[in-house]
């Protein structure tokens, strides 16, 4: 391949009828980095992830992951990526073990490796005693951890995390962030969407800021502070997204 990029997105576009949810976006994600995809609600973050992971087809443009095209080689791509969606999409009626076994089967992980890997991951995420518990009985934080384990069973090279800490308590969110760093240390590339700016500041090597379906900027958090003359990434984010006027207006209304 010769490229240091593992994901290359070119002119990726998604229209829902006449509405451009994602509009001709371009960016690259480097091997082994944590890439943050930030934007206000409705900016097009989830739509972008859905296109990159094959859940929906782009209207225009394309992207490659490890050199494979999302339009023509999506089944091959899916073998090498893990996806943690915003919702914990495992089966409530099945036990943790059965859920993870089923996911391992879908990814054709050989039975002996599957059992070993499930055991290792449950241990790493401190869930080794929860294997027989029904998924429905777990706390929200535990469910999120099991969902992450499900995304890692087949040892993916790229992991997509869509709003992974939404709805988690402080401790669970902290544990999850530590896990993300651990995955990076293992050489896994992380594509992270979040609307928690502090989280992005703590974790990401580079961030892209998406507003109304278009990318405003792609840079390191450090460079964004310099270019926007901001004290922290939240200020920079407000500056770049043009939310400053909106916030001032809301504050003014609040004072009345």
């Amino acid at each position: 391949m010769g490229s240091d990029s593992i994901i290359e997105v070119s002119d990726l576009t998604k229209f829902y009828r006449d509405f451009p949810a994602v509009n001709h976006i371009n960016f690259k994600v480097k091997h082994g980095e944590i890439f943050g995809f930030l934007g206000p609600n409705g900016a097009g973050k989830t739509t972008t992830i859905k296109m990159l992971t094959g859940l929906i087809q782009p209207t225009e443009g394309t992207a490659t992951i490890q050199g494979k095209d999302i339009r023509t080689q999506i089944v091959e791509i899916k073998k090498t990526i893990g996806v943690v969606t915003e919702d914990s999409n495992l089966y409530d009626e099945l036990s943790v073990f059965d859920n993870l076994r089923f996911v391992g089967q879908l990814y054709s992980v050989p039975q002996s490796d599957r059992e070993k890997r499930i055991g290792e991951l449950l241990k790493r995420f401190n869930l080794e005693t929860k294997g027989e518990a029904k998924f429905a009985t777990l706390s929200k934080g535990m469910k999120r951890k099991v969902t992450i384990i499900a995304a890692l069973i087949h040892s993916p090279r790229v992991v997509f995390l869509d709003e992974p800490t939404t709805g988690l308590d402080v401790l669970s969110a902290r544990i999850l962030r530590a896990m993300v760093k651990e995955l990076k240390a293992l050489g896994v590339t992380i594509f992270l969407t979040t609307h928690y700016i502090e989280e992005a500041e703590q974790l990401c090597d580079r961030v892209a800021i998406l507003v109304n379906g278009t990318i405003k900027t792609v840079d390191t958090p450090g460079n964004l502070l310099v270019t926007t003359n901001s004290k922290n990434l939240e200020e920079a984010f407000i500056e770049i997204t043009g939310l400053k006027e909106e916030i001032m207006l809301v504050e003014k209304e609040g004072k009345r």
Partner: protein
């Protein structure tokens, strides 16, 4: 690659059987409902009990193969678990094939209960057991694919049941389950000829009694294969559109 797709389908089918099929509501649709309906007819005409076997088996097949199938995908789409399948390295056809196979296996097993019951309690000798079992499988595929189509076409579970019953209940009376199609008023014949249960009943009847009511068994086989293919690929097409919306 092909091997992985086949295995993927089977794993999905086995998961569905475990989670949805062997549950009381489905067992009642697959066993109790056909028995109750059959009893109503037997009490009216006890001497015609042997003629009912093929219709009873086909009806059990229809209700068992569609009862859960018609709601599984709509349920999983609501709980977002269907997304889990869509994220797996499997084609959409493989995923839906797995869904259909779950209904086929359950429908086949339920109809076998009636088959065995017909031998034990009614003493019905079969003409060709191997072909009879094959015709049950083929019919189960048609009905399960029909259930899948219903399940991908609607947004709510309630709508799925309504739509499925809109087709299932008239079929009981129009397709030769209790009354041979040839004995129906002639204005109902065109309706009977476009419904797949008619061909399933006729084919099963042939392998039980050695005679058929409407068309040669080879024609029934071809019609059922065409129905299987059309219903399956229509389900794939509709689901693709739904996902993109």
């Amino acid at each position: 690659m092909f091997n992985e797709e086949v295995k993927g389908s089977l794993y999905i089918a086995l998961k569905d059987l475990k989670m949805y099929y062997f549950k009381p509501p489905n067992l009642s649709w697959g066993i109790m409902f056909p028995i109750v309906m059959a009893l109503a007819f037997i009490l009216r005409n006890p001497s015609g009990v042997k003629d009912l076997a093929s219709g009873l088996i086909a009806m059990s097949l229809l209700f068992a193969a569609t009862s859960a199938e018609a709601i599984v995908i709509v349920f999983e789409r609501r709980t977002k678990t269907f997304e889990r399948l869509l994220l797996a390295p499997l084609s959409l056809q493989t995923i839906l094939f797995g869904k259909v196979i779950g209904g086929v296996i359950f429908g086949f097993l339920m109809s076998c209960i009636f088959l065995i019951g017909s031998v034990i309690f009614l003493g019905i000798p079969f003409q060709n057991t191997v072909f009879l079992l094959a015709s049950l499988m083929l019919s189960a595929f048609v009905f399960s694919a029909f259930g899948t189509l219903v399940s991908v076409a609607v947004k709510e579970i309630f709508d799925a049941m309504t739509l499925a019953n809109f087709f299932r209940f008239p079929m009981i009376f129009l397709c030769g389950v209790f009354i041979p199609v040839s004995a129906l008023p002639s204005f109902l014949h065109p309706l009977a000829y476009v419904l797949p249960l008619t061909y399933a009943v006729d084919l099963i009847r042939f392998f039980i009694t050695g005679s058929y009511d409407l068309v040669h068994p080879a024609v029934s086989v071809v019609v059922l294969i065409v129905y299987s293919t059309v219903l399956f690929y229509l389900s794939v097409f509709v689901l693709k559109r739904r996902i993109e919306q």
